[in-house]
Amino acid sequence: MAEEQDRKKEEEKHDEDDHHKLDLRGTFMMVMAIGGLMLLSWFAVFILFMERM
């Protein structure tokens, strides 16, 4: 029974945990920063590669 109650509680919470309603501006900024670093580091080594050609 405890299990079922837990489940119900979960379902109620489910709404508030809906991904679309989360405020993830900070997360977005962090992953964009990682993306920027990815482009930067990759092109830096690519340029080094072309220079040594």
């Binding site: 837990d6 489910h14 997360t27 080594v45």
Partner: protein, 558 residues
Amino acid sequence: MTNYTGSEIFSSKTRVNPKDGKLVLANMFWVAFALLIGGTAGLLQTLVRSGHFELPFGIGYYQLLTLHGVILALVMTFFFIMGFQIAALSRTAGVFNNKERTLGWIGFWVMTVGTLMSAAMIAMNEASVLYTFYAPLQAHVLHYIGLTLVIVGTWVSVAGQLMRYFRWRKENKGHKTPLLSYMTAINNVMWIVCTIGVATTVIFQFIPWSLGWVETINITLSRTLFWYFGHPLVYFWLLPAYMIWYAVIPKVLGTKGFSDNLARVSFVLFLFFSIPVGIHHQLVDPGIDAFWKGLQVVLTFMVIIPSLMTAFSMFAVFETYGRKQGAKGLLDWFKKLPWTDARFVLVFIGMLFFIPGGLGGIINASGQMNQVVHNTIWIVGHFHITVGAPVILTYFAAMLFLLPHITGRKIDKIANRLGLFLAYTWALGMGIMSLAMHWAGLRGAPRRSTYSEYGGAEVATEWITYQVMQAVGGSFLFIAIIIAILMFLKLITGPKADDIEEFPVAMFMDQDAPVVKWVENWRLLIIITIFLILIAYTVPITQMFTEEIPGAKGFKLW
């Protein structure tokens, strides 16, 4: 009740069964011991390369390097992974039955015997071939047999773990399996599929050749079979860390994981794409056509995507938690994170290291660009900020709660503080060492080389400056290892607690959403895995037989 199906999976009261706990603990003792030995070897290596230290007692640099690689990359990680996965299954699926647990113990002892055999050969200087044991350098046959036993031992232990997982599935048809149990199954299936490569080369090539039954060895084939195993090996190390990131850390924060389904899908992608990519370690090898190198580069890039997904969901968990604690601005949720909880700090610092670690990996795998960094010390820097930071720091965090959980204790203030010191000392040491390695590597400094002035070449003088920096970093890392050992001792001694440390298992925001069905369709998963392997490897391996590459005789050059 032997299967956990409901709220007990997430309850802080649910414990790893004490009988299973003993098995976990046995594995963890090896982790601590291997860490100490391997760490000492690492320290000595950085000192030698600084040019200010010479090894005593006739120990060879490459003998030490072999020890370092074998004991850390293989022995320590394997024992941790077996121990942690058994704990995760016992904690989330339920207690092992006798048969499953016995397999765990047999595996443990087989791995132990294998480790001791190889260690003896390395100690006697009969096996200074480094952990990759590239032919035609030829070690003593007992070294190869020892390594085989280590792998076979993991198979036996993994068999017990998989039986536990599939028993849960059979007894709870139609239910979604506990996430951690599912993740161990993915890692184990990947392990079985990839270790077939290394087992094949060792049993059918190295052992007969080192016994003198055959004179020569096909080295192109042996290298390819090694790397067919060698790349999934790094994911075998990484996935237990990801298990903790996805399924344990949210609970440490007291919040929910981001998405159960996303976690499962990312693990499936790791199963698919971590194996058919081994040739990216052989991008500048002869004997493989450019097309097949290119194809495996493309497949390698596919395996980056699940890590992009992981990065997003980690930050999302942290931000959601911080906002629930009242953070309002763009990034002030960082301040709300539990910066005094060593379990979190160890993992978080590990994650930070994984950012440059992952980015460096993309560069390494970029086809012809690999020539800039191949076999330079940049590569050593790379794997020290992947396996040597995110993975190992997460392992430390796991041991921080696992050891007291199993021995009936609680993380006390001192242990927690040791954990924090460990995290910061490690970050400092690894930061210095890996940065120096990356820079020196771009300037051409080779890896796997003892101290040398290269006949007074100007560029070599520059490398030595970086090598001194590596020794400084290495010294901090050694101090960190001592702290880790003290932490382990603190965790398993002292008074027992009534309120035993929990093995945190998080719920997910989409806990009740229907599970993506195909992620547990094992037949489908295995078919796709094998299909991708066949695409990537059939032609290059066939060519290694049909192109009549002359075999190579063995050499012992140390």
